[in-house]
């Protein structure tokens, strides 16, 4: 019998205590924010969409190898000895044309593993977090600054250069010569006028 009444009492008391707590919270300011109107302030280390500063990229492929989901695709073509690819911001001369630098943000897991190995700190995470798209393929971002024609041209140039070199080699090889001379013509070999013209345009 005693338990019976104590049960009634504890029920009513604990319900009243709970109601007091919720009632108090009616007058506590809300913690939610009205998102598109009010934007949260993001900390400086925020990890959102990646950005690649192609001026600094040397095409070393380290970010692509570090990526656990293989969302970075890089293709490079060796620059011709005469090409001026430019310098990175810390003064290193670049040696490769980057003809493909795609990041598929549909795959990206925002783990930041690609950022750390980069020798020139050209890939980093920005605080842009609104980039939804209607199609999955528009989430593949192309960071290369060259136009598609230029990319093809660079590839062709290098192929042609390789072919020329091979032909040269073959030509040199016929009269058996020591390997030192094999390299020599490469330097002396004048680049075709075509390439020079192309470089000026770019």
């Amino acid at each position: 019998m005693r338990e019976y009444f104590s049960n009634i009492w504890t029920s009513l008391a604990t319900i009243a205590i709970g109601m007091k707590v919720t009632f108090k919270h009616m007058f506590v300011p809300a913690v939610t924010i009205q998102y598109p109107d009010v934007r949260p302030e993001l900390p400086e280390r925020e990890r959102n969409r990646l950005y690649v500063n192609m001026d600094d990229c040397i095409g070393c492929d380290q970010c692509s190898r570090a990526c656990p989901v293989s969302c970075i695709e890089i293709e490079t073509v060796k620059g011709l000895p005469t090409d001026d690819i430019g310098k990175t911001s810390n003064g290193k001369k670049k040696a490769l044309w980057v003809t493909k630098f795609n990041i598929d943000f549909a795959k990206c897991c925002y783990c930041q593993l690609c950022v750390f190995p980069c020798p020139t700190e050209c890939i980093y995470m920005t605080d842009v977090y609104e980039f939804s798209e209607f199609e999955r393929k528009s989430l593949v971002y192309d960071f290369v600054t060259l136009t598609p024609e230029e990319r093809e041209q660079k590839k062709l140039n290098y192929q042609k250069y390789e072919a020329e070199k091979a032909a040269e080699k073959a030509a040199v090889k016929k009269p058996v010569t020591p390997p030192v001379t094999e390299v020599k013509p490469k330097i002396e070999n004048p680049p075709s006028t075509e390439t020079q013209g192309e470089n000026k345009v770019s």
């Binding site: 009634i8 504890t10 604990t14 319900i15 205590i17 280390r45 593993l113």
Partner: protein
């Protein structure tokens, strides 16, 4: 309102009737993800529970075999996504033991702070969703409000709110943010009264006690035989915490208690005890965080990160106390840059195995209470 709850485990039907098979999940509001429970019912009384898992199976172990050791870290985040820091911690401990490297003191302290903050965050989700399962929505949102603050601390430190990739093998990805210590102290002082408020609102509520006390009683010997760990095992009354019983990192330097279930309102090892152990653990975690912040040494957090991780041929089983229990990594190395075999002993996976024993003889509504008190994360069960 004290009502005789069904204490017996075996239900003896009086009238022979046909059993009803009820599928609960994989899409159900309270299965905490994509768990499917096949219930065999006698009216509303449960005679058998068959859990079906695997709906979230993402082949973590197969993936890990194709990754280098540092690349596995983001994948470990995705197992127990409510306690990512703990997962990374366990993985880092395992690989470091395999490599035989010692990490700087500061790294260990930061790891402990992060793991304990994560424990609070994870328990907040556990307690909040438990309340929501029982029918009280308000504690759920209060808990999430406080959890957001912890997530903001993490975001400030490493830039991500949920999947951190922060604790690396041999070190950390970033040092602490200059404001971190101050803000964490603020959080500790803010959070203590909130625990009391949660207790007022939910823990001591008579209806809540009625729903959880004497429900799903897990006796200690059963618990050990089932390999139960974490708050569930402690709820059954065993003082067993890997932070004390198999110390790793710098936990031996801190002074904290291990709360155990005492059967305060019901039987030892019932749902309320498991819930209560989690509430007390949050307080203990706060203690650890405060001590760690006081003792935080200076140093470099990235100095011990190996350039190339290539462990010797061998195997290791390392375990840490995750919010859900003993998280163990069994890593076999064949001397390559990729692990040869990674097996995760996921606490939720093992804890879920006891569902059938816990549920028999209870009612459908109790399934929810029991499942909530087991506190599973399907990402970890299925890996």
């Amino acid at each position: 309102m004290s009502f005789e709850t069904n204490k017996s485990i075996e239900y003896k039907p009086v009238v022979k009737t046909e059993h009803m098979v009820l599928n609960m999940g994989p899409q159900h509001p309270s299965t905490h993800g994509v768990l499917r429970l096949e219930l065999e019912l006698e009216g509303e009384i449960i005679t058998r529970v068959i859990p079906h898992i695997g709906y979230l199976h993402r082949c973590f172990e197969k993936h890990a075999e194709a990754m280098t050791y540092p690349q596995v870290v983001p994948y470990t985040d995705r197992m127990d996504y409510l306690a990512s820091m703990g997962n990374e911690f366990g993985y880092a401990v395992a690989v470091e033991r395999l490599l035989g490297i010692q990490v700087p003191e500061r790294v260990e302290y930061i790891r402990v702070i992060m793991a304990e903050l994560q424990r609070i965050a994870s328990h907040l989700v556990a307690l909040g969703t438990y309340g929501a399962d029982i029918g009280a929505m308000t504690p759920f949102l209060f808990c999430f409000r406080d959890r957001e603050m912890i997530l903001s601390l993490f975001e400030m430190t490493c830039g991500a709110r949920l999947l951190y990739n922060y604790i690396w093998v041999g070190g950390l990805s970033h040092d602490l943010h200059p404001d971190f210590v101050r803000k964490t102290r603020d959080f500790c002082t803010y959070f203590k009264p909130k625990i009391k408020e949660l207790n007022d609102l939910l823990t001591y509520n008579k209806i809540f006690i009625e729903r959880t006390a004497n429900v799903g009683v897990l006796p200690l010997d059963t618990a050990i035989n089932f390999g139960i760990s974490g708050p569930m095992l402690r709820g059954s009354g065993l003082k067993w915490d890997l932070r004390k019983d198999d110390p790793y990192s710098v936990y031996h330097k801190f002074d904290f208690n291990i709360p155990v279930g005492e059967g305060k309102v019901g039987t030892v090892g019932d749902c309320w005890d498991r819930y209560w152990v989690r509430v007390l653990e949050m307080e203990e975690s706060l203690k650890i965080i405060e001590q760690a912040l006081d003792q935080l040494p200076e140093g470099d957090v990235t100095s011990a990160i190996p350039k190339r991780i290539k462990p010797p041929i061998g195997q290791v089983y390392a375990r840490v106390e995750n919010p859900r229990g003993e998280l163990g990594y069994f890593i076999m190395s064949d001397g390559n840059v990729n692990p040869f075999r990674v097996k995760v002993r996921a606490p939720s996976f093992v804890n879920l195995g006891v569902m059938d024993v816990l549920c028999r003889g209870h009612m459908v509504a109790d399934i929810i209470a029991i499942l909530g008190s087991v506190d599973i994360v399907l990402g970890e069960v299925d890996r």
